[in-house]
């Protein structure tokens, strides 16, 4: 197992190196400069570029950058003069992580319950309702939910309309973000559960006299988890990195917008740091998920160790 994990970490580092390299050279193809005032005279622009080392050949900038990140120096932001990129990310990551984690927990748990109920009550109105809900949740973009939730808050005064200042402020954005993972989890859960419920070992358990709910809780639920665990990884990263639209609608000081903004303003160090961070989160979570499989399904663990 340890050998397997070490090998996977090696691949993980290689992946990050490739992501960083490809992003760096692609990013340098963006038109324009980080100096966004179109009125800067050409000779002044040349001086600014020289000050930032942007006059050097791209491969040399690449080497300087890579040398920097090996000792944790991600550079300074252009959009925020004087701010380090790591400081910028850390200061805006908190709210995104919080809402993302909450949405993740609420979404998957509710999704698992909804999917399981739909599977147990297959082909009844409960199942139909759950399916319709799942389809709506998947097909309606989260900003529509966000806007509707805000309207609800505005009309009733039950929740803050927007802004950030404590748990109550995070409830509506969490719900808006949780709808999509909820719907997705519910759909996968239902399909898998229907399969599991018709398998032989479930029949056996039932014939031994266990009640339907006991069977579901003891045997079916865990075995229906596999596809959920697969989708949880990318879903978690998707939620944690922040949503541009939901954060904007609820005026949350998160990281969601930074990626887009750094690209449109050619803020090279921020583009790089976020690309590396997101890839790192994704690869680490995929690794964790792969290890988790083994705990949920011993068959996978055995084959993993055999390799």
């Amino acid at each position: 197992m340890a050998k397997y994990i070490l090998k996977r970490i090696g691949f993980l580092l290689l992946t990050l190196f490739l992501v960083a390299t490809i992003t760096f050279f692609l990013m340098k193809l963006l038109p324009g400069t980080p100096f966004n005032n179109p009125k800067i005279p050409a000779d002044q622009l040349a001086i600014l570029k020289k000050q930032y080392g942007l006059d050097k050949p791209v491969w040399m900038q690449y080497l300087t950058y890579m040398a920097g990140i090996t000792h944790g120096d991600f550079g300074m932001s252009y959009q925020y003069p004087g701010q380090t990129v790591s400081g910028l990310i850390v200061s805006r990551m908190g709210p995104s992580l919080q809402i993302g984690a909450q949405a993740m927990v609420v979404g998957t748990l509710a999704g698992i319950v909804l999917g399981a109920i739909a599977a147990i009550r297959k082909n009844t109105w409960v199942d139909a309702t759950a399916t319709i809900f799942a389809i709506l949740g998947r097909s309606i973009p989260n900003f529509v939910f966000a806007a509707l939730l805000q309207l609800f808050a505005y009309k009733t005064g039950a929740f803050p309309v927007a802004l950030w200042g404590g748990f109550t402020y995070s409830i509506l954005p969490t719900i808006a973000l949780a709808i999509a993972p909820l719907a997705q989890t519910a759909r996968f859960m239902r399909t898998e559960m229907v399969d599991v419920l018709s398998s032989d070992y479930i029949e056996l358990a039932r014939s031994k006299g266990e009640s339907r709910w006991q069977v579901v809780a003891k045997h079916a639920l865990r075995n229906s988890m596999i596809p959920i665990v697969t989708i949880i990884g990318p879903m978690a990263v998707d939620l944690m990195v922040g949503s541009l639209v939901v954060e904007n609608i609820f005026a949350i000081p998160g990281i969601g917008e930074q990626f887009v903004k750094s690209i449109t303003t050619n803020d090279y160090p921020v583009i790089m740091a976020l690309a590396i961070l997101y890839s790192a989160m994704l690869t680490v979570i995929i690794l964790i998920v792969d290890i988790l499989y083994g705990f949920i399904d011993p068959r996978i663990r055995l084959s993993g160790e055999a390799n």
């Binding site: 800067i40 002044q44 003069p81 200061s91 309309v161 802004l163 609608i249």
Partner: protein, 539 residues
């Protein structure tokens, strides 16, 4: 089993985060306060490296330069009175008033010398260093050819500042309200080092307010009254809260739930706000126009063709249908409210004589177009209209496409919507037939717009060229530089030529739709598109 443990652990961590967040409720403040919406964060409080309007507003709230705008009035601030100006207009001597920094240090002439030198030093990486062009040796210093100490600014003594220019700059005083020209406390700046202006801890103020609770990247901050401000007796609002809101519907909802006292709106929400009694339209110093590439499309050299394009556009309808806010149909390229003299507005005065050139007149457009084509011996062309790929950019291009095709017989217009930076570079390299562009003023003087369309200006993308126009602009900078009345008349004449010839086709002046509580009084909006909170009150 282990899986269940992981789930439990995960849930616990998430709950812990939830509970930790509960503790951080914002405290309410004592005294009078208002909450102002900003469309983006403050990116820096270093006057030398600031470039954006939001940081600019926070700098104006917390600092005073030699001058300060109070609405349209340019008033001496740290300067005690109007400066003594030499006859050739090249030397300015300012007497400074007795003012203090928020740490108690006096604001001295040396603070200006230090701040200005710091801005032009290449090492500071200021994007606004070019504004100093015209101050003696500034160009050589920014180019790294001379030491910053050679800049034409000296502290004669603690309260006397002498500025030497390369040539007379008639609008020099208006430039002094730009934060790049603010004083900086050498001791404090050096002590803060790289962190200067990055959080509220590393800021020293000499203005009406001091910035608090700003972590450098956050969406909220607070400006509290600065008791050491020389004019503190006229600062009546104790606290100005800043809140970043990006979504216009959220802004409207927050305003209506009384979480915001001043909010800017756009799009649909701006149209909705227009009907509300708290509505205010704030004229921006920004003009949008159509540039016609005379180098690439020879028929645009023909004046009648350019006039036809202008007469074919119904600006009022365009604003109503596409922008749907209270933007002003532009008769010329100088914004209204930007440049005034003795109560007279430059743009409005110019409009009196040249409004017909931008009047929607399909019959006239058709006639001029046909005549123009005959004169040039060309048939009606297919032209590409270059615009931004934003929603507004695209919709504007579509409107112009349909109206031009409808009113100019035989013309085919195709649209190329590209990202902002691509549009800029294509426009500057002449890779377009027609381009939808805009310009906003660095300083409130007609010259910041009229300068763009001289033959050798690098922003004259259409390459319109008129010898008489060039001569008038030059005259305003030389012969008339020290004679405001003559200069005003010369610039008016130049504006008339530009409009009559339609060297550029003006479209509209941007007006910011704003909601502002009626309880706020005395709040003034400056020609530099920022607020002055001195003298403002809240009931």
């Amino acid at each position: 089993m282990k899986f269940r443990k992981t789930m439990v652990a995960g849930t616990t961590i998430a709950l812990a985060g939830v509970l930790a967040a509960c503790g951080s409720n914002s405290a309410s403040s004592n005294g009078s306060s208002i909450t102002r919406m900003e469309s983006d964060v403050i990116s820096t409080m270093d006057p030398s490296t600031n470039t954006d309007a939001i940081s600019g507003q926070a700098l104006i709230d917390t600092m005073d330069g030699l001058y300060r705008y109070s609405g349209k009035d340019l008033k001496p601030a740290i300067a005690k009175s109007q400066p003594t100006v030499s006859k050739d207009g090249k030397t300015y001597t300012f007497k400074l008033r007795n003012a203090k920094w928020s740490n108690g240090d006096p604001v001295t002439a040396q603070d200006f010398v230090f701040g200005w030198r710091r801005t032009v030093t290449p090492k500071t990486k200021s994007e606004y260093a070019y504004l100093f062009s015209g101050v003696k040796n500034a160009d050589d210093i920014t180019a790294g050819k001379k030491a910053a100490s050679t800049l034409g600014v000296t502290a004669v003594n603690k309260t006397t500042l002498k500025v030497t220019l390369d040539h007379a700059i008639p609008y020099f005083k208006t430039m002094l309200v730009n934060p790049a020209f603010f004083p900086q406390n050498e001791k404090f700046v050096n002590k803060a080092g790289k962190k200067y202006g990055t959080t509220s801890k590393y800021i020293l103020s000499n203005g009406p307010y001091v910035l608090k609770d700003w972590n450098g990247t956050g969406n909220t901050w607070k400006e509290t009254k600065n008791k050491t401000y020389w004019n503190a007796k006229n600062v009546h609002i104790d606290t100005l809260n800043g809140q970043v809101v990006k979504d216009p519907q959220t802004a409207l909802n927050l305003y209506q739930s009384k979480k915001l006292d001043i909010a800017q709106l756009s799009g649909e929400q701006a149209a909705k706000a227009k009907t509300m009694s708290d509505y205010k339209g704030l004229n921006q110093s920004a003009i949008f126009y159509l540039e016609l590439n005379e180098k690439k499309v020879p028929i645009f050299k023909n004046t009648k063709i350019r006039q036809a394009v202008s007469a074919a556009i119904n600006r009022t309808e365009y604003i109503k249908k596409v922008l749907n806010d209270s933007s002003i149909a532009a008769n010329n390229v100088t914004p209204e409210g930007l440049f005034t003299k003795g109560g007279q507005d430059f743009s409005k005065t110019a409009s009196k004589t040249d409004a017909s050139a931008t009047k929607y007149d399909p019959a006239k457009a058709k006639k001029l177009w046909t005549e123009g084509l005959k004169e040039t011996g060309q048939s009606a062309p297919t032209l590409e209209l270059l615009s931004d790929d934003t929603t507004q950019g695209k919709r504007s291009a579509e409107y112009l496409q349909s109206t031009l095709q409808q009113n100019l017989p035989g013309l085919k217009v195709t649209i190329a919507s590209v990202p902002f930076k691509t549009r800029l570079s294509r426009a500057q390299n002449g890779q377009f037939d027609m381009v939808y562009s805009g310009w906003s003023a660095d300083f409130p003087d007609a010259i910041s717009f009229l300068d763009l369309f001289t033959s050798d200006n690098s922003y004259n993308d259409g390459k319109w060229s008129n010898a008489e126009y060039d001569a008038l602009i030059k005259q305003s900078k030389t012969t008339d530089a020290n004679n405001p009345t003559a200069r005003w008349n010369t610039l008016l004449k130049a504006q008339e030529i530009l409009t009559k010839e339609q060297g550029v086709v003006p479209l509209y002046q941007r007006v910011q739709a704003t909601l502002q509580r009626k309880t706020i009084t005395g709040l003034k909006y400056n020609p530099t598109s920022s607020y002055d909170f001195v003298n403002a009150k809240v009931k």
